[in-house]
């Protein structure tokens, strides 16, 4: 049963991911991205990683794609425009991607995955929280600074009263 659900979720995820990179309308691409991320969240639930699934829905579906849709709607006339998602380098790109795909496929099949026999801790979220604030406290803190600097950087780049000197525009 869970195998069947997994295959359905996986097919939905892959097909809608393909849609994201081939459709000619940006808005539709963004909607298919939501579907992809939702199916990935479903796969997390199947793996008993409820916390990850919740985070996936909250952050990716809830925040990031909604932001992207807002950005698309606010951008002048971009929704009605038909865009090309490929350029003249599409054939070499496809070849390289296929080679990479086969390589990773072989890798995944040939590997004997280390399997742990330990049962999952009853309270996943509790254990993740403990790990984040003990073993992974340095990465955890660095991430917070990375997010802060991304915020500051975005403000510097986008603010209106910034260093703009029309006279020095060199093109």
């Amino acid at each position: 049963m869970s195998m069947l659900i997994f295959y359905i979720l996986a097919i939905v995820a892959v097909v809608s991911a393909l849609m994201v990179v081939t459709l000619r309308n940006v808005f539709h691409s963004a909607l298919f991205l939501v579907l992809t991320l939702f199916s990935v969240a479903g796969i997390y639930v199947l793996l008993e990683a409820e916390f990850l699934a919740a985070v996936q829905v909250l952050i990716y579906v809830g925040a990031i794609t909604i932001l992207m849709i807002f950005a698309i709607m606010l951008t002048y006339q971009i929704t009605s425009k038909s865009i090309r998602q490929v350029n003249e380098q599409v054939i070499p790109a496809v070849i390289i991607v296929l080679v990479f795909f086969v390589l990773s496929l072989v890798t995944l099949i040939k590997t004997s995955w280390p399997v742990s026999n330990k049962s999952l801790p009853g309270n996943n979220t509790f254990e993740i929280g403990r790990q984040l604030l003990s073993t992974y406290v340095i990465p955890f803190e660095v991430v917070s600074i990375v997010l802060l600097i991304a915020l500051i950087g975005a403000i510097i780049i986008s603010r209106q009263d910034g260093p703009s000197r029309p006279g020095q525009e060199d093109r």
Partner: protein, 481 residues
């Protein structure tokens, strides 16, 4: 039993990080004409960090901290010294330029300091996750810094290109880390080495693909051919002081991560031939393309690619000798490259942008001191005896010969000869060509002068008496093995 927290290990990082936030907050309250205070605070903060780094060389006992996530060993500390020196010089180079071109952006120094913070994290990281986060911490401020000159089309183009390609490269790195985690069940480098020593079975193919992906991610940041496409455009488009900053520290940080993952720890798989090919391709391609460049920033960009090629020779050699010569060369490269960019910034301090090599015509008689200094930096970059660059190259190529990589050494030396041609083009333009237009005066700013004099003295001093610096680099390498 869990190891203790061991705070002193991350004191240098903390010093830089706290300074960055002090600058950010003080910036809010300063009126526009007093922004120079921010640069003083930044310089003070970096000096404090440098002092702590020196003190940490004498740290006793277990130098691992935060559950094995970071370490304060001689290699890491040596590279942190390089980052501090690089940032310090870059701040000196930036002060006047920043005040003239984008005086409102006081966050300029915050971005620079936080980027340095990321490099330091990368140098002390013992865990792949920490290395990845350090890399992001280093890169995100750089994307913004490249585009900080919003009025210029090229600056915006540079920022966008750097950001898109950098994000793509991060994806490779992350996927590689995921594969390695899949193979071993941990991302901690020490733990992986222990697992292999215990004879834990693992699939070499799997680890190989993971390692190559990690290498691609790091090679992008270092600018190794064929992942170098962004370098000329970004170096040309970014403001000159920013280019000076990002041509030195971030490269060193990527190299130290490569050293930590592939050289210092027992190599899980043998990648020597990969590094051999990358070294040859990077050296040759960088040098050949540099010959034809007319823009001095583009020329220095391609020359920096070639210099990464020489560093890859040292990585191919590996072992104690390889690590120490790479460490020494990175110090030398940081100093002479920032020095060369300082002169570029000096000449750019006028109405137009003097960025073409032909624009330098007649500078020899008009600005004798600057021209002589530039000549020395060019000689050092080309590796002419008597300069620091020569000692660095000598160490790398003698290491290659000692370990039997004769062809690599031959190709490297031939490449250095080619490189002298295009470095001399600048000198020839300065001394032997007549200027097309009347040259105007340049106002010499004291901060830029400080940077130029420090780099000049260091290049000459290391070139003539390299012993102290060499032993420092040797110590950084010997304790790692």
């Amino acid at each position: 039993m869990m190891p203790p927290i061991n705070w002193p290990v991350i004191y240098p990082e903390l010093a830089i990080c706290i300074t960055a936030f002090i600058v950010l907050i003080v910036d809010l309250f300063l009126p526009g004409r007093h922004k120079w205070v921010l640069s003083l605070i930044s310089i003070f903060g970096v000096l404090v960090a440098l002092q702590i780094v020196f003190m940490n060389f004498g740290l006793k006992g277990d130098t691992k901290a935060f559950f094995g996530m970071v370490v304060s060993d001689a290699t890491g500390l040596y590279f942190k010294t390089i980052f501090c020196i690089g940032t310090l010089l870059a701040i000196f180079v930036s002060i006047t330029y920043q005040r003239r071109e984008f005086p409102e952006v006081g966050e300029f120094y915050t971005l620079m300091l936080l980027s340095t913070f990321g490099m330091m994290i990368m140098a002390s990281a013992l865990d792949l996750i920490t290395i990845f986060l350090g890399l992001e911490m280093m890169s995100i401020p750089l994307y913004v810094l490249a585009g900080i000159y919003r009025g210029r089309y090229r600056s915006r183009e540079a920022a966008l290109k750097y950001f898109l390609l950098g994000a793509f490269a991060s994806g490779f790195l992350l996927y590689g880390i995921a594969l390695i985690y899949g193979a071993f069940g941990t991302t901690n480098i020490t733990r992986i080495v222990e697992l292999i020593a215990d004879g834990k079975p693992y699939s070499p193919f799997f680890v190989g693909v993971g390692s190559v992906l990690v290498l691609i991610g790091l090679a992008f940041k270092a600018g190794v051919v064929p992942f170098h496409m962004w370098i000329p455009d970004v170096y040309e488009g970014a403001p000159a002081p920013v280019t000076a900053f990002m041509s030195a520290g971030p490269k060193a940080a990527a190299i130290v991560a490569i050293l930590r993952i592939f050289v210092i720890t027992t190599p899980v798989i043998d990648l020597t031939w990969v590094f051999w090919v990358l070294a040859v391709v990077t050296m040759t391609w960088g040098n050949i393309l540099a010959i034809n460049q007319n823009n001095i920033k583009r020329m220095l960009a391609y020359s920096s690619i070639a210099h990464v090629g020489y560093l890859l020779v040292a990585i191919t050699v590996g072992g104690e000798e390889g690590v120490s010569s790479a460490a020494f060369y990175l110090l030398v490269y940081t100093i002479m490259n920032i020095g060369a960019f300082a002169i570029v910034v000096l000449f750019a301090e006028r109405e137009e942008f003097y960025e073409n090599i032909s624009d330098y015509a007649g500078f020899g008689s008009r600005f004798p001191f600057a021209a002589i200094t530039m000549t020395i930096f060019m000689a050092s970059l080309g590796g002419i005896p008597g300069t620091a660059g020569f000692v660095g190259k000598f160490m790398i190529f003698s290491g290659a010969i000692n370990h039997g990589f004769y062809w690599l050494a031959v190709i490297g030396v031939l490449n250095s000869l080619v490189s002298i041609y295009y470095y001399l083009r600048v000198v020839v333009a300065m001394y032997m060509r007549q200027p097309q237009t009347r040259l105007v005066d340049i106002a010499i700013s004291p901060s830029l002068m400080i940077a130029i004099i420090i780099t000049l003295l260091l290049v000459i001093q290391i070139g003539i008496f390299p012993d102290n610096w060499l032993s420092l680099a040797k110590q950084a390498a010997s304790l790692a093995f």
